[in-house]
Symmetry: C2
Subunit: 167 residues, 2 copies
């Protein structure tokens, strides 16, 4: 694999990604950054993210569950995309473009997530076929797993990103 893919976040290798959760091109978004852990690819991918105080659940000291869902979803789909490029032995973002969207997601919220420190994400591919990649993700904070998700990502054609608005 290229040195770039080891040192630069998945999202910073993607072009034209305005995703509110992870797009490098969306200045108002959460700007999640995911990497393979260590030097290998096809392994566990990690991310760290620092919540702002506005992203509360009902109580002001607990992280919002929708934000947790957003982080798990974005991390999972970006792992699916990175894995697809790795399987073709190409750098993320190289042509022809590969892209995935979320087909379905299930989340278990195991315990409240504190809002005053960073959260860590881990994700790994558990199943791949021609269309679908399934990624397991965990969100940790302060040394404990707070939420677990299964993200089922579907490969989408270039028209999904660059075609007409959805009907």
């Amino acid at each position: 694999m290229t040195p770039m893919s080891e040192s630069v976040a998945f999202q910073d290798q993607m072009t034209d990604n305005f995703c509110w959760g992870c797009g490098a091109d969306n200045p108002d978004g959460l700007q999640l950054k995911s990497h393979w852990e260590g030097k290998g690819e096809g392994d566990v991918a990690v991310a760290q993210w620092q919540p702002g105080s506005e992203f509360a659940a009902g109580p002001r000291h607990v992280l919002n569950g929708g934000i947790i869902a957003t982080l798990l979803d974005c991390h999972g789909v970006c792992v699916a995309i990175a894995d697809a490029y790795a399987r073709e032995e190409r750098a993320i973002g190289s042509e022809p473009d590969l892209w995935y969207a979320t087909a379905s997601m299930s989340i278990d919220y195991l315990r409240p997530t504190p809002l005053d420190g960073p959260v860590s994400l881990r994700g790994w591919v558990v199943d791949v076929d021609d269309r679908f990649t399934t990624v397991e993700c965990e969100l940790d904070a302060d040394g404990k797993v707070r939420a677990r998700a299964t993200v089922r990502a579907v490969r989408v054609p270039d028209t999904w990103r660059h075609g007409a608005p959805p009907a």
Copy 2:
């Protein structure tokens, strides 16, 4: 039931709710507002919400899946809370306080959601026991169902909201 619960959104009857998705007390949040449909309670609850252009998926014309998850989660939990008050024949927000948190959620993304118009939510209780309430929710836009979710909400004690930060 009180006239208030028919005309005022669930979230506007709740006290001290800083939730980023639906808290009336969070000026930086999405401010989702949910109501029972028509005059009856214990029936379908609805909400409408207008996305801002920053809440994009990868493409700029599609609504972000994490935002969709946030809306479905908040609507589902607020339906669980409203339903719990209705079962006790009390107005939402009356003492003693009733509150629910999300235990788990599963979402199917059926088709892309356009970002240029409002989305509509529907939610209805499908199962209740002493601890858990299960709510089915749908998100529609431009006349089509775009996503479906099952939200499993768990009743939480007052310490969940007003106690010490999570360990």
